[in-house]
C-alpha cells in the first residue's frame, strides 16, 4: 500500500521519471481484464439450488403438461382414410391403372361427427409415404419465376418440368407439377356445406412470393402430373398451389384444404363428395381426409403434453431422490474432509 502511495506522490524527480518511463515501456498495463480479475459471479450448485431447480421445473412442467394435454383433448379431429375405399372393388388389384384411367373417379364418404366442433373446422388432406422433402423435389422450383413475370424464363433448376417445346412452364418444377388435385365437397343433411378456401396460405406468401400478375402458363400441357391451375387467376390467388409449394418436412404430412365456417354438432353426419384424382397408389401412399378444430396450440397432438408431464415427473423424482440423498447422507458444503488429500489419507 505504502509503496503504491509513494510511487504516486513521487514524480518530480527527473531521473526517477525517466527510468520510470523506461521501465513502464515493457511493463504490462494493469487492468482488471488483463489480470483476469474482472468481478465475476461464481454460482455453485448447492443442494438447495439443485432441489429447488428440479422442483421448480417439475412444478412448472406438470401444469404445463396438463394444459397442453387438455388443449389437445379439447380439439376434435376426424380422420378418414379413403385411398383404398375409393377404388372400386373391381379395380383393387390394379389401383394404379384405375387412377390413371380416364373415367370420373367420384367417391362418396360419410363422416360421423362424434363431438361438437365449433367453427372454424379446418379441412386437411393428409398424404403418407410422399417424399415432399426429397432433395430433388425440393430443389425443383424457381421462386423468382413465381414472383414476377419478367423471370418466367428462369427455369434451369426446374428440369425436367422446365419447358414445353421451348416455352417455359409457369410455375415450373416438380413441386408445382405434382400439385395435389383431389377435391372434396361437403354436405350436411343434403345441404351444401361451403368450404372457404381463402386464407389457407400464409399472408406473406400470397402477397410477396406469388405474384399478382403472374399467370400459369403451359402448365400441365406436357406431361400431365398432378392438378391443373386456372390460367386466368394469378398465382397469388391460387392458394392450393401456395400451400402445396410449402414443402413438408416429413413424408407424412397434412396440408390445409379449406375451412368450414359453421359449427358441426355431435351426431351429425357429413357427406363428402370426393374426386379421387391423385395418384398415391404407385408408391402405396395413404390418403386421408381430416376435419379438425384447433386450440391455441394448434391441432390434436398429445405428445407435447405427455412430454411435459414425463419430464416434469422426472424432475420431481430427481428432486425427491436428491432430497432423500441429502437427508440420508448429508454433505456439509465446503467440508474439507472431502478434499482428495484428506480422503486418501482416511482410507
Amino acid at each position: 500500500m505504502s509503496s503504491t502511495a509513494a510511487s504516486l506522490t513521487v514524480g518530480g524527480g527527473g531521473s526517477s521519471e525517466s527510468s520510470g518511463v523506461k521501465k513502464t515501456s515493457k511493463r504490462p498495463k494493469y487492468s482488471k481484464f488483463t489480470q483476469q480479475e474482472l468481478p465475476a459471479c461464481k454460482p455453485i450448485l448447492t443442494p438447495t439450488w439443485v432441489i429447488l431447480t428440479f422442483l421448480v421445473v417439475g412444478v412448472v412442467f406438470i401444469p404445463l403438461g396438463v394444459i397442453c394435454l387438455h388443449a389437445s383433448k379439447r380439439v376434435v379431429e376426424i380422420v378418414d382414410r379413403y385411398d383404398i375405399d375409393c377404388v372400386p372393388a373391381s379395380s383393387r388389384n390394379d389401383k394404379v391403372a384405375y387412377i390413371k384411367g380416364v373415367e370420373d373417379k367420384i367417391c362418396n364418404r360419410t363422416i360421423l361427427i362424434k363431438r361438437n366442433m365449433t367453427h372454424p373446422v379446418y379441412v386437411y388432406y393428409q398424404l403418407g409415404n410422399f417424399y415432399q422433402n426429397h432433395r430433388r423435389y425440393v430443389k425443383s422450383r424457381n421462386d423468382a419465376q413465381l414472383r414476377s413475370p419478367s423471370d418466367e424464363r428462369d427455369v434451369k433448376t426446374c428440369a425436367p418440368e422446365d419447358n414445353v417445346g421451348g416455352e417455359p412452364i409457369v410455375p415450373c418444377g416438380l413441386v408445382a407439377w405434382s400439385l395435389f388435385n383431389d377435391t372434396y365437397r361437403f354436405s350436411r343433411n343434403s345441404q351444401q356445406l361451403p368450404v372457404n378456401k381463402k386464407g389457407i396460405s400464409w399472408k406473406s406468401d400470397r402477397e410477396k412470393k406469388f405474384g399478382q400478375n403472374v399467370f400459369p402458363k403451359n402448365f400441365q400441357t406436357g406431361d400431365i402430373g398432378g392438378g391443373t391451375l386456372d390460367p386466368k387467376k394469378p398465382l397469388s390467388e391460387q392458394e392450393d398451389l401456395i400451400v402445396w409449394m410449402r414443402t413438408a418436412a416429413l413424408p407424412t404430412f397434412r396440408k390445409l384444404y379449406g375451412k368450414i365456417e359453421t359449427d358441426l354438432h355431435e351426431g351429425e353426419t357429413i357427406t363428402v363428395l370426393l374426386q379421387n384424382n391423385y395418384n398415391t397408389y404407385s408408391f402405396n401412399g395413404e390418403k386421408k381426409l381430416v376435419l379438425s378444430t384447433t386450440s391455441l396450440l394448434g391441432g390434436k397432438n398429445d405428445f407435447l403434453g405427455i412430454a411435459y408431464l414425463t419430464v416434469g415427473s422426472i424432475c420431481l423424482f430427481l428432486a425427491v431422490t436428491f432430497s432423500v440423498l441429502y437427508l440420508v447422507k448429508p454433505r456439509q458444503l465446503g467440508d474439507p474432509s472431502y478434499l482428495s488429500w484428506n480422503r486418501s489419507a482416511g482410507g
Binding site: K23, A249, R254, N301, A307
Partner: protein, 1218 residues
C-alpha cells in the same frame, strides 16, 4: 595406458616417414588410426586455398538455423500444415466441395481453410524470418583473417574457411572452432568464457602448444604452414583428438588447445588460431538440434477424437449413401412425382451404385459439421488470447530487469497444466551464479552472524507453526517470545550495522571486520586464514577504474568470493605475474597497507577427484608454505598430529554450515623446509614434463606426497546465491507433484552444493552417485568394462531402492556426464531411467548440451509424461527444443535460449505462476472447450443425419443454408471462446495456495476418454432429444390456432432455435465463472439468433426465400414454438445438470470443495481449517524447502525442548545460562 603407448609409437614412426617426404604428399601414406574412420579431417594451416577443391572442401562457415528457405517454404510448411489430421480432412472436404454434388457453396469450405492454413503459415514464415535475420547478423560479423604476407584483414564470418589464420581480440567471439597457436601472453595461455556452450560463467584456461608460441605477431604468419590431422566433426565439446605437423615434427593436440565457436575470449588481449571446423561442422552447431514443431498432448488426443468422429462420419455417410442407393433402386421408380422416367444422373434408379457413391461425397460434406473447421479457428483464437494473458500478467513481470513473461508460441498453453517433470539448468536459472561469503570458522571459533536462506525460512516457518498451535502448546512463554528465541540465533547483531551490500560478500561480524580481528585470541591463525584466502587460488584481478576496487576473474565463483572476502578483511590480492602473487596486507587497525609478494613455486590444481587445491609459495621472509584448501573430508584425513587442534569445533561448525545449506571448504597449511621441498620439486618437475596419459596420475601421486601433515586453520562457508524465490518455487512445484531434474555443465561438487541450497538434496537423503572411475575410454575392451561397471552400479542402486522399507526414505541420484554417455546408450538407458524415476531428485552434472537434450528425450519418451525444460544459456537450447515445453529465462545471458523457447520468463520463480496458475487454467479451459465443441457439433450434426432418414437419404437439410453457416461462426462460437479464455475454476490465489489442484491436469482429469466419451454421449443424447421431440411436437397437425401445418422451414427453424438454446444453456452450466463478458456472449448469442431470424425474415423474399417473415408471421405467434423451445431446452440439459449435481454432491472434486469454502467464506470464518488444509494440500514431497525446513524444525524443537526442561528445572531464578 594402452592408448598412450599407441600414440607414442605412432609419433616415432611418423617422424621417421615424414623426414623424407613433402608434407602435402601424404595421400599415399599407409593408413593409421588418426587417419582412419572418424579421423579423416586434414587441415592445411594458412593454406585455405587447399580447401577450395573437393576432397578437402569442407563446409563453409555460413550458418543457417532456419527451418525453411524460399524454395522449400511452401512444400515444407504445407506438408506441416496438412500433416494435421484435421487440416487434411478439411483439404479433402474443400476439394470435394468444388464438385457440384456439394450440398453447400464451395467457398464456404475453401475460405475458412485458406484462412486457417494461411494464418499458421504466416506465423511460421515470420518466425523463420526472424531466425534468418539473426543468422544474417551472425554471418556478417567480422573477424581478422590472415590474407598474405603477415597482413590481417577484416572478413565476414561466413567467408572464413578451414585453414585460415584468425586473430581474435579481447571480448571477441571465436568465428569457428580454432586451434590456438599463440596468445598475447608469452606462455600461450588465454582465458575463454564458454557461457554459450555449457552455461558456465567461469573462465577456462586454454594453452597453446609450445612449438607454436613464437607465432605471436602478424608478421610471423608470413611463411607459416602446418598440417592438422584430426577427428571428424562431432558434437562432443570436451574431447578433441588430433595432431599438428609443424616444422617436420608431430605434436599431439588435446581439447585445451581448441577454441570453440560461440565462446568468448576474455582477459587476453589477442590470440591467433587456425580454423579447424567451420559452420555446421563446429562443435556448437553439431550440438544444435533442429527445432521441432511442438504440439500439446491435448491436441494430440484431439487428433484421436477427430479420428473417432471421422469414423462416425464415414459410418453415417455410408449408411446414408447405401440408404440412398437402396431408395433410389427400389422406391424411386414408384415416386412418379420425382419423374424417375427422366432422371438426373444422381438419382437414376437404373444406376443405384453410382448414385450411392456420389451421394457418399454429398453426405460426407453434409455431416462435416461433426468435425468443424471452426474448432481450429476458435482454438487458435483462444490460445492467442490466453497467451496475451500470460504476456500481460503483472505478477510474472520482473521489475528489476523490466522483462515481462512472454508466450512465444501459443500452441502449448494447456500443456503447461500437465507437466510432470521439469528439467532445469542450474547456472543462471536456479542460481545467479554468485557466491556470497557468509560465515567462517577460524581456530575453532565461528564467525559470521548473517543467516542463510535456509535458516531464515526455517525460523519463519517455525514462527507460523507456533502461532498456529499457540494456545495449545504454550506452557512457559507466549508464542511471540518463543519465536524470538528461535530467531535469536540467526538475527542477533545483524540489525545495527547497515552496509552497502558487496557482491560475493554477505559476511557480517564486527569481530573480524575493520581490523578488529587483531584483538581476537588466535590472531595468528586468523592472519594465516586470510592469507590462504588471498593466495591459494588461480584467479586474475581486474581493477575497476570507477571504484578503485578489484574484481576477480576466477575459475569458480567460490574463489572470487574468497578473494572479495579477503580484500574486505584487509588482504587485497591485486596482481598476478607468471611467478608471483601480490597482496596488499593491512596488518594494523590504522588502515595502512603493506605490499607483499608471494612467489608461487607450484600450483597443484583442483580436480574433481582430488577435491582440493594447493599452492606452494615462498614469502618475503623466504619461508616455504604449502597452502591448501579443499573438501573437509579430504583435508581432515591429511592433517598432521599437531594440526588437529581445532578439529573438534571446526567439524561441529562445518555440520552447522552444511545444515544451513552453505557450501564449505576447509583451509589448512604446512611449512616446508628447503630440502624437503627441493627434493619433492625435482620429482614434481619430472612428472610435469613427462609425456603420456599417465602423466596426470603421476602428478596426482606426487602431489599427494606433499599434501600431508597439514595443519587445520579453519573453514569457510559460502552461500551459492540462488535466484530470488527459487527454493520457495521449487518447494511449491514439488508440492504440486512435479519432479525436478537438474542438468548442469558444472562440476559434481558444485551441482551437489546447489542441490543442497535449493533443497533438492538434504541431510538424511540417500545419495546414489554413479560415476566411472576409469577415465580411459578408448578401446572397445575397456569401454565394455566401463559399461559393465555402470550397469552394475545401476542394478545395485535399483535393488537398494526396491529393498528400502521406509516409505519416507528419499533417494537422490547424481550422475556425471561421462557416465551419462554410457547410461544413455540404448541398452542401458531404461535401467537408468527406471532408477531415476524412483529417486526423489536427480542431478546430472558435467553434461553437454547434446546430453541435456538426450536426457530430456529419454524422460519424455521413456516415461511418456510431459516434460518441461528450463534454461537460460545457449547450452540449454537443445533440451529446450527437445522437451514438450521449453522455457527460456530471459536474463542477462544471450538470447539463444529465449529464441528457442516456447515461453520465456525473467526469473525461475515465475515458473510457479506460469504452471500452477496459467497452466492449470489453460488446461482446464482448453479441455472443457474442446469437449464442449465436440458436444455441440455432434448434437447439431446428428440432427442432420436423422432428418436424412426421413427424406429417403436424399441429402436434403432441414435447416436453411444460412443457419448452417451461422451455427459455428456466429451463434455458438463466442461463448465457447469465452469459456476458453475466461473460465476460472478457482482464483489464482487459490491455485497458488493449493498446489495439489495442479494434479488435476497431471492426471488429465478433464480430458480423459471417460470424459470425452461422456461429452460425446451427451451430444448424441442432445441430438436425439432435439430432433425427435421437435418432430413429435410439430408432427402433422396444425401448429397454430389458425390451422396451418408446419412446412420444412418452420420445423427447421424451430429445431434450430432449440439447438441454439440448448447448446448455449449447456455452456452456461459448464462454466463456473461469469463476468459480464460471459453473460453478454452467452445470452447475446441466443438473442443474436432471434435477431438474425427476424432481420433475415425482413429481407425481401428474393433473398430470404422461405425464411421470409418466418419468425414474425409464422412462428412467433404460435405458442407451440415457444413451448417446444422451452421443453426441448430443459430436456436436453437435464441429464447433464443431474450429472453435475449428483457428482458434486456425492463425489466432489477438490475444486468443488474449495469453491464451496470460498462461496460460504468459510476460509475467513475458520482460519485454522483453511491454513490446515493449505498445509495438507501439498503433495507428500521428499524434496524441496518444506521437507528441509521440517527437518530443521525437528532439530530446533528438540533443542528448544531441552532448553525448556532445563529452564523449568532451574526454577526460573537465574538467567539463561545454558
Amino acid at each position: 595406458m594402452a592408448r598412450g603407448r599407441i600414440r607414442s609409437k605412432l609419433k616415432l614412426s611418423l617422424i621417421y616417414t615424414f623426414g623424407c617426404l613433402r608434407p602435402s604428399a601424404d595421400e599415399g601414406q599407409e593408413p593409421h588410426p588418426i587417419q582412419g574412420p572418424g579421423f579423416s579431417r586434414t587441415v592445411y594451416c594458412n593454406q585455405p586455398h587447399m580447401h577450395k577443391k573437393k576432397p578437402l572442401r569442407y563446409r563453409s562457415n555460413y550458418v543457417s538455423t532456419t527451418r525453411y528457405n524460399l524454395i522449400t517454404f511452401f512444400p515444407k510448411s504445407l506438408y506441416e500444415q496438412f500433416h494435421r489430421a484435421a487440416n487434411f480432412y478439411f483439404l479433402v472436404a474443400a476439394i470435394l466441395s468444388v464438385f457440384p454434388l456439394s450440398p453447400f457453396n464451395k467457398w464456404s469450405m475453401i475460405a475458412p481453410l485458406v484462412f486457417v492454413v494461411g494464418l499458421s503459415m504466416l506465423k511460421e514464415a515470420l518466425e523463420d524470418w526472424s531466425r534468418f535475420m539473426q543468422d544474417v547478423k551472425i554471418n556478417a560479423r567480422k573477424a581478422y583473417v590472415h590474407k598474405s604476407d603477415g597482413e590481417f584483414r577484416r572478413r565476414k564470418w561466413k567467408k572464413i574457411s578451414v585453414g585460415d589464420i584468425v586473430k581474435v581480440e579481447k571480448d571477441g567471439f571465436f568465428p569457428a572452432d580454432l586451434l590456438l597457436l599463440s596468445s598475447s601472453y608469452e606462455d600461450g595461455i588465454c582465458y575463454v568464457e564458454t557461457m554459450n556452450l555449457d552455461g558456465e560463467t567461469n573462465l577456462k584456461v586454454k594453452r597453446s602448444l609450445e612449438a607454436t608460441l613464437p607465432l605471436d605477431d602478424d608478421e610471423s604468419f608470413k611463411n607459416f604452414t602446418g598440417t592438422i590431422r584430426c577427428e571428424d566433426p562431432n558434437p562432443s565439446l570436451y574431447t578433441f583428438v588430433g595432431n599438428l605437423e609443424y616444422e617436420r615434427q608431430i605434436f599431439p593436440l588435446d581439447p585445451s588447445q581448441i577454441l570453440l565457436r560461440d565462446s568468448k575470449l576474455r582477459n587476453t588481449p589477442y590470440v591467433y588460431g587456425v580454423v579447424v571446423f567451420t559452420g555446421h561442422d563446429t562443435k556448437v552447431m553439431q550440438n544444435s538440434t533442429k527445432s521441432p514443431s511442438k504440439r500439446s498432448r491435448i491436441e494430440k488426443t484431439m487428433d484421436y477424437i477427430i479420428y473417432t468422429l471421422l469414423v462416425l462420419l464415414i459410418l453415417i455417410s455410408c449408411i446414408s449413401s447405401s440408404g440412398f442407393a437402396w431408395e433410389t433402386k427400389f422406391h424411386m421408380p414408384k415416386w412418379w412425382y420425382l419423374r424417375p422416367d427422366e432422371p438426373e444422373n444422381l438419382t437414376n434408379p437404373s444406376n443405384p451404385v453410382y448414385a450411392g457413391v456420389v451421394h457418399l461425397i454429398t453426405a460426407l460434406l453434409l455431416y462435416g459439421y461433426l468435425i468443424p473447421i471452426s474448432l481450429y479457428v476458435s482454438i487458435e483464437v483462444v490460445k492467442v488470447l490466453q497467451a496475451t494473458f500470460i504476456n500481460k500478467d503483472l505478477q510474472m513481470y520482473d521489475s528489476e530487469s523490466g522483462v515481462p513473461a512472454h508466450a512465444r508460441t501459443s500452441n502449448l498453453n494447456e500443456e503447461l497444466g500437465q507437466v510432470d517433470t521439469i528439467l532445469s539448468d542450474k547456472t543462471g536459472t536456479l542460481t545467479c551464479n554468485q557466491m556470497d561469503f557468509l560465515k567462517c570458522s577460524i581456530a575453532g571459533t565461528s564467525y559470521g552472524v548473517r543467516s542463510s536462506e535456509v535458516e531464515v525460512a526455517a525460523a519463519q516457518q517455525m514462527a507460523v507453526d507456533l502461532d498456529d498451535n499457540g494456545e495449545v502448546s504454550s506452557r512457559t512463554s507466549t508464542p511471540r517470545a518463543r519465536t524470538q528465541e528461535i530467531e535469536v540465533e540467526s538475527s542477533h547483531g545483524a540489525a545495527n550495522n547497515p552496509r552497502i551490500p558487496i557482491k560475493g560478500f554477505g559476511f557480517e561480524d564486527i569481530r573480524l571486520m575493520d581490523g578488529n580481528w587483531l584483538r581476537e585470541p588466535h590472531k595468528n591463525d586468523i592472519l594465516l586464514f586470510f592469507r590462504i584466502l588471498a593466495i591459494c587460488h588461480t584467479a586474475i584481478p581486474e581493477l575497476n577504474e570507477e571504484t578503485g576496487k578489484y574484481t576477480y576473474e576466477a575459475e569458480s565463483p567460490d574463489e572470487a568470493s574468497f578473494l572479495t572476502a579477503a580484500s574486505e578483511f584487509g588482504f587485497v590480492f591485486f596482481k598476478r605475474t607468471q611467478s608471483s602473487v601480490y597482496v596488499h596486507e593491512r596488518l594494523s587497525s590504522s588502515g595502512q597497507t603493506i605490499e607483499r609478494e608471494y612467489k608461487v613455486l607450484n600450483l597443484l590444481d583442483f580436480t574433481s577427484k582430488r577435491k582440493r587445491m594447493s599452492v606452494v609459495v615462498r614469502d618475503e621472509e623466504g619461508q616455504i608454505l604449502l597452502l591448501c584448501k579443499g573438501a573437509d573430508s579430504i583435508i581432515f584425513e591429511r592433517l598432521a598430529k599437531n594440526g588437529k587442534t581445532y578439529l573438534g569445533p571446526t567439524t561441529k561448525h562445518l555440520n552447522e554450515y552444511g545444515e544451513a545449506g552453505l557450501r564449505t571448504l576447509a583451509l589448512s597449511y604446512r611449512t616446508l623446509d628447503e630440502d624437503e621441498y627441493s627434493a619433492w620439486n625435482a620429482e614434481f618437475h619430472k612428472a610435469k614434463t613427462s609425456i603420456g596419459s599417465d602423466r596426470d596420475e603421476l602428478l596426482e601421486r606426487i602431489s599427494d606426497m606433499i599434501e600431508i601433515d597439514l595443519i587445520l586453520v579453519g573453514a569457510t562457508a559460502v552461500e551459492d546465491k540462488l535466484q530470488k524465490g527459487v527454493p520457495q518455487c521449487i518447494d511449491k512445484l514439488a508440492q504440486a507433484g512435479l519432479k525436478l531434474w537438474v542438468l548442469t555443465g558444472d562440476k559434481m561438487e558444485t551441482a551437489i552444493n546447489i542441490g543442497y541450497s535449493c533443497s533438492l538434496l538434504r541431510q538424511g537423503m540417500k545419495q546414489i552417485c554413479i560415476t566411472v572411475m576409469n577415465s580411459e575410454g578408448g578401446s572397445q575392451d575397456s569401454k565394455g568394462a566401463v559399461k559393465d561397471n555402470i550397469l552394475n552400479q545401476l542394478t545395485k542402486a535399483v535393488q537398494m531402492v526396491k529393498l528400502e522399507k521406509d516409505p519416507h526414505a528419499a533417494f537422490a541420484l547424481i550422475i556425471d556426464g561421462k557416465t551419462l554417455t554410457y547410461a544413455l546408450e540404448d541398452d542401458m538407458k531404461y535401467q537408468f531411467l527406471a532408477l531415476a524415476v524412483d529417486c526423489a531428485s536427480v542431478i546430472c552434472c558435467r553434461v553437454s548440451p547434446k546430453q541435456k537434450a538426450l536426457v530430456t528425450r529419454l524422460v519424455k519418451e521413456g516415461t511418456g509424461k510431459t516434460t518441461l525444460a528450463i534454461g537460460d544459456g545457449a547450452n540449454d537450447v537443445g533440451m529446450i527444443q527437445e522437451a514438450d515445453i521449453g522455457v527460456g529465462i530471459s536474463g542477462v545471458e544471450g538470447m539463444q535460449a529465449v529464441m528457442a523457447s516456447d515461453f520465456s520468463i525473467a526469473q525461475f520463480r515465475f515458473l510457479e505462476r506460469l504452471l500452477v496458475v496459467h497452466g492449470h487454467w489453460c488446461y482446464k479451459r482448453i479441455a472443457q472447450m474442446i469437449c464442449y465443441f465436440f458436444y455441440k457439433n455432434i448434437a447439431f450434426g446428428l440432427t442432420l443425419f436423422y432428418f436424412e432418414a426421413f427424406t429417403g437419404f436424399s441429402g436434403q437439410s432441414v435447416y436453411n443454408d444460412y443457419y448452417l453457416l451461422l451455427f459455428n461462426v456466429v451463434l455458438t462460437s463466442l461463448p465457447v471462446i469465452a469459456l476458453g479464455v475466461f473460465e476460472q475454476d478457482v482464483s489464482s490465489e487459490i491455485c497458488l495456495q493449493f498446489p495439489a489442484l495442479y494434479q488435476q491436469g497431471k492426471k488429465n482429469l478433464f480430458f480423459d476418454w471417460y470424459r470425452i466419451l461422456g461429452w460425446m454421449g451427451n451430444g448424441v443424447y442432445s441430438s436425439l432429444v432435439i430432433f425427435f421431440l421437435n418432430i413429435g411436437i410439430i408432427y402433422e397437425q396444425a401448429f397454430r390456432s389458425s390451422g396451418q401445418t408446419a412446412d420444412m422451414d418452420a420445423v427447421g427453424t424451430t429445431m434450430f432455435t432449440c439447438i441454439v438454446w440448448a447448446v448455449n444453456v449447456q455452456i452456461a452450466l459448464t462454466m463456473s465463472h461469469f463476468t459480464w463478458i460471459q453473460h453478454v456472449l452467452i445470452w447475446g448469442s441466443i438473442g443474436l439468433w432471434y435477431l438474425f431470424v427476424a432481420l433475415y425474415g425482413m429481407m425481401p423474399p428474393s433473398l430470404s426465400g422461405n425464411i421470409y417473415r418466418i419468425l414474425a408471421e409464422i412462428l412467433a405467434p404460435a405458442p407451440i414454438y415457444w413451448v417446444a423451445t422451452f421443453l426441448v431446452t430443459v430436456t436436453t440439459v437435464l441429464p447433464y445438470f443431474a450429472h453435475i449435481s449428483f457428482q458434486r454432491f456425492l463425489n466432489p472434486l477438490d475444486h468443488h470443495i474449495i469453491q464451496e469454502i470460498k462461496y460460504y467464506k468459510r476460509d475467513v470464518e475458520d482460519r485454522r481449517m483453511w491454513t490446515r488444509e493449505r498445509t495438507k494440500a501439498r503433495e507428500k514431497t521428499k524434496i524441496g524447502f518444506t521437507a528441509r525446513v521440517d527437518a530443521k524444525i525437528r532439530h530446533l524443537r528438540s533443542k528448544l525442548n531441552k532448553k525448556q526442561s532445563n529452564m523449568s528445572a532451574q526454577d526460573t531464578m537465574s538467567p539463561r545460562s545454558v
